[in-house]
Amino acid sequence: MRVVIAEDSAILREGLVQLLTDRGHEMCAAVADADALLAAVAAHRPDVAIVDIRMPPTHTDEGLRAAIDLRRNHPDTSVLVFSQYVETQYAARLLEQDAAGVGYLLKDRVADVAEFTDALQRVAGGGTALDPEVVRQLLGARGAVSGLAALTPREREVLALMAEGRSNAAIAAALFVSAGAVEKHVAAIFTKLGLEPSDTDNRRVLAVLQYLRG
C-alpha cells in the first residue's frame, strides 16, 4: 500500500511512518500541512492519505478541507481522516458526497495496531472506516427517530458495526455469533429502517449513513 501522511505533530508523524514501514507499506511522503499534502498527493498518487484535521496555520479544520478536496480531485486516493476529537459535523461534511474510500478515526485507535492497519487497508480498498465513537455520536444524535427506536439492542450493535464499515463476517467475529445470525439481523435492520438489502459492505454503509444523515 502506498501512503502519504499529513500530520503536524512530528512525534506522531514519525511514529506512523515507523508503524507503517514496519508492516511493509511504502511511505511516499510525510508532511506537516495541508498545502504540502495536496502537492504530495498530486505528485505520488498514493493509495491512501492519512490526514490530521487540525494543522497549521489556523489549527482548525485545514485537514478536513484538504481531505474533501482530495476526494473530489483525486478519487483514486482514499482518505483516512485522523483526529484527536470526534466532531459529528466534520464526519457529516466528509461523508456528504460519497462514503467510499473515506475513513474518520480517532488518533487513539493507533494503539491497536492491527485494527488500525485493517481500517486503513479497508479505506485504501475503497471501503469505509468510521470510528465507533463517530458512529455512537451519529446514532445518538438521531436516536429519537422512529424506526431506529424499533431496533433491538443486538440489532443496534450490528448497525453500529455496519456503520464502522465492517463486513458480516467481521461483525459475526466481533459479536461471537454465526455469520447466519448476522445476516438475519442485517435483514431485520433493513426491513425496520425501510432500506433495500445489498451485498457489498460499501453500499450498506452508504445506506446506513444516508439514513443517519436523514
Binding site: 503536524d8 505533530s9 512525534i11 506522531l12 511514529g15 506512523l16 515507523q18 508503524l19 514496519d22 487540525r54 489549527h59 484527536q84 488518533k107 487513539d108 493507533v110 494503539a111 491497536d112 495496531v113 492491527a114 488500525f116
Partner: protein, 458 residues
C-alpha cells in the same frame, strides 16, 4: 501626614520607634522627593489653572449674561459652550499634571456621548456633568492656588533667605562700607513684613539661621497640606461622580477579562492537543507495536525490537509527564502558594540574564493579583532574556499603599513597544482587566524600564 498618623495609631503614641520615625520624617521632609514633586506641581499648575480659570470664567459669565438678554442669546450660548469646553480642557490638564507629579490616579475626563444634529450637539455639551464639574473645580481651586502660592512663597522664600542671610549681609555690608560706599543702609535687612529687628552685625545675621531652619522644616508641611486640599478637590469635585465614565471603563475591562479568559482556555487546549495528548497517542502506538512483537513465541530480532519500542514508550511517557507538569505550572505556579517573594526569587534564579530582585510587599495581595503579578514578572523577565540583549537586569516589586508596583529594568538595546500585537500588548490587556497600568520606557539603544502597577485586590 497620613503616614505619620497611622504610625501613631499602629504602634502607640509613646513608642520610641514611632517617635524616631516621626522625627526622621520631619527632618527629611524639606529634601525628600515627594516635597519637591509637590512644589513642582504647584509651580507647573500656575500657567494651567490661572488662565484656564480666568478665561473660562469670563466666557461663562459673559455667555450667561448675554443669554439672559434675548438679543444676544445665540452668541451667549456659544460663549457659554466655549467656556465650558475650555474648563474641561484645563481640568484635564490639571488632572494629567497631578497624575504625573503627585501620582494621583484619576480617570481621564471623558467626552460625553455626542448628540445628533446641531441642537443635540450643543445640548450634549451643556448636559455634560464633566464640564460643569471642571468649571466648579477651577472656580474652587483659584482661591486655593492664590493662597497656596502665597503661603509657599513666604515659607520657602523666607526659609531660604534666612538660611543664606549671612551671605546677603556680607555683600550688603561691603557695599555700604567699601571704597565706593553706596548711599543708604544695606538693602532689605528686615525681612519680617512688620518691620521687625534691624540686623547690625554678622553675629546677628548668623542668629537668623535658626529661624531659617525652623521655617524650612515647616515649609514642606505647608506644601503638603495645600497639596492634600487640592487632591481632595481633584478627587471630589473634578472627578467626583463620573459614574458614566467609570461604567464605560469597567465595561471595557470586563470585556477584556472575558476575552482573555477565553483566549487562555484556547491556549491551554492547544498546548494539551499539541503536547501531552499527542505524546500519549504516540506512546500508546509504540506500546501497541511492542505488544505485537511480543507474541508468546517471539525471540531474537523481534524481542530486541520490542525492547527498543518499550524504551521509546518509556521515554515518551516521561516527556508527557514533563509537558503536563509544565502546563499545570503555567496555569498556577505552585511556588506562588508561599507568596510572591519566594516565587519571584525562584523566577529570577532561573533567568539566563542575571537579575537582581528586590521584593518588599508586606501585605499579601489577593490570589488573582498575586498570580497576575507573577506572570507579568515572568513575561518581562522572559522578554529580557529573549529580546533585550541585556547583561544585567533588575526586578523590583514594592507595595505603595494600596497598589503593587513592579519595575523591571534592563541595560539592553531597548526598542520594546506595547503595540497592538505581541507579548507586551497581551500583557497590557490582561493588566487592564484588573484596573492596573503599564508604562514602557524603552528608547532605541536602551535601557528599558517597564513599570506595572496593580491594585492589591482584583
Amino acid at each position: 501626614m497620613d503616614e505619620m498618623a497611622s504610625d501613631l495609631t499602629a504602634t502607640g503614641a509613646r513608642s520610641p520607634a514611632a517617635v524616631r520615625r516621626m522625627a526622621e520624617a520631619a527632618l527629611r521632609a524639606p529634601v525628600c522627593a515627594r516635597t519637591w514633586r509637590e512644589v513642582l506641581y504647584w509651580l507647573a499648575s500656575l500657567p494651567v489653572s490661572a488662565p484656564g480659570f480666568l478665561v473660562s470664567l469670563v466666557l461663562i459669565a459673559a455667555g450667561t449674561g448675554l443669554t439672559l438678554t434675548v438679543a444676544g442669546a445665540v452668541l451667549g450660548v456659544l460663549l457659554l459652550a466655549a467656556g465650558l469646553g475650555l474648563a474641561r480642557v484645563a481640568g484635564e490638564a490639571q488632572r494629567a499634571l497631578a497624575g504625573r507629579l503627585l501620582g494621583l490616579r484619576l480617570p481621564r475626563l471623558g467626552r460625553p456621548q455626542p448628540g445628533t444634529g446641531v441642537l443635540g450637539r450643543v445640548e450634549a455639551r451643556f448636559r455634560d456633568p464633566t464640564r460643569w464639574r471642571a468649571a466648579g473645580y477651577l472656580g474652587l481651586r483659584f482661591p486655593l492656588a492664590f493662597a497656596g502660592l502665597w503661603l509657599m512663597a513666604v515659607t520657602w522664600g523666607y526659609g531660604l533667605f534666612f538660611l543664606t542671610y549671612p551671605i546677603w549681609w556680607t555683600v550688603a555690608h561691603r557695599q555700604a562700607t567699601g571704597p565706593h560706599p553706596t548711599h543708604g543702609l544695606a538693602p532689605i535687612l528686615t525681612p519680617f513684613p512688620a518691620g521687625g529687628a534691624h540686623i547690625g552685625t554678622l553675629g546677628e545675621a548668623f542668629a537668623l539661621l535658626l529661624p531659617g531652619i525652623v521655617v524650612l522644616l515647616v515649609a514642606p508641611w505647608v506644601t503638603r497640606g495645600l497639596t492634600a486640599a487640592d487632591s481632595w478637590l481633584l478627587r471630589r469635585v473634578l472627578c467626583g461622580a463620573d459614574l458614566a465614565g467609570r461604567v464605560r471603563q469597567l465595561e471595557a475591562a470586563r470585556a477584556l477579562a472575558v476575552d482573555d479568559a477565553a483566549a487562555r482556555l484556547r491556549r491551554v487546549e492547544r498546548d494539551l492537543h499539541d503536547g501531552a495528548q499527542a505524546r500519549l497517542v504516540a506512546l500508546a502506538m509504540t506500546l501497541g507495536m511492542a505488544r505485537e512483537k511480543l507474541d508468546p513465541d517471539a525471540r531474537g530480532a523481534d524481542a530486541e525490537r520490542a525492547r527498543e519500542l518499550v524504551d521509546a514508550a518509556h521515554a515518551s511517557a516521561k516527556l508527557a509527564i514533563t509537558e503536563l507538569r509544565d502546563l499545570a505550572r503555567g496555569l498556577h505556579p505552585p511556588v506562588l502558594d508561599n507568596g510572591l517573594p519566594g516565587a519571584l526569587a525562584s523566577l529570577t534564579a532561573g533567568s539566563a540574564v542575571p537579575v537582581a530582585a528586590f521584593v518588599d510587599v508586606p501585605e499579601r495581595p489577593t490570589l488573582a493579583i498575586e498570580a497576575m503579578a507573577y506572570f507579568c514578572a515572568a513575561e518581562l523577565i522572559a522578554n529580557v532574556g529573549k529580546h533585550s540583549g541585556a547583561d544585567n537586569a533588575t526586578l523590583e516589586m514594592r507595595q505603595h499603599e494600596r497598589r503593587l508596583r513592579l519595575r523591571v529594568f534592563d541595560d539592553g538595546h531597548g526598542g520594546a513597544r506595547t503595540g497592538r500585537v505581541g507579548g507586551l500588548a497581551g500583557l497590557a490587556e490582561r493588566i487592564q482587566t484588573v484596573d492596573g497600568s503599564i508604562e514602557v520606557d524603552s528608547p532605541a539603544g536602551g535601557p528599558t524600564t517597564v513599570v506595572i502597577e496593580l491594585p492589591m485586590h482584583a
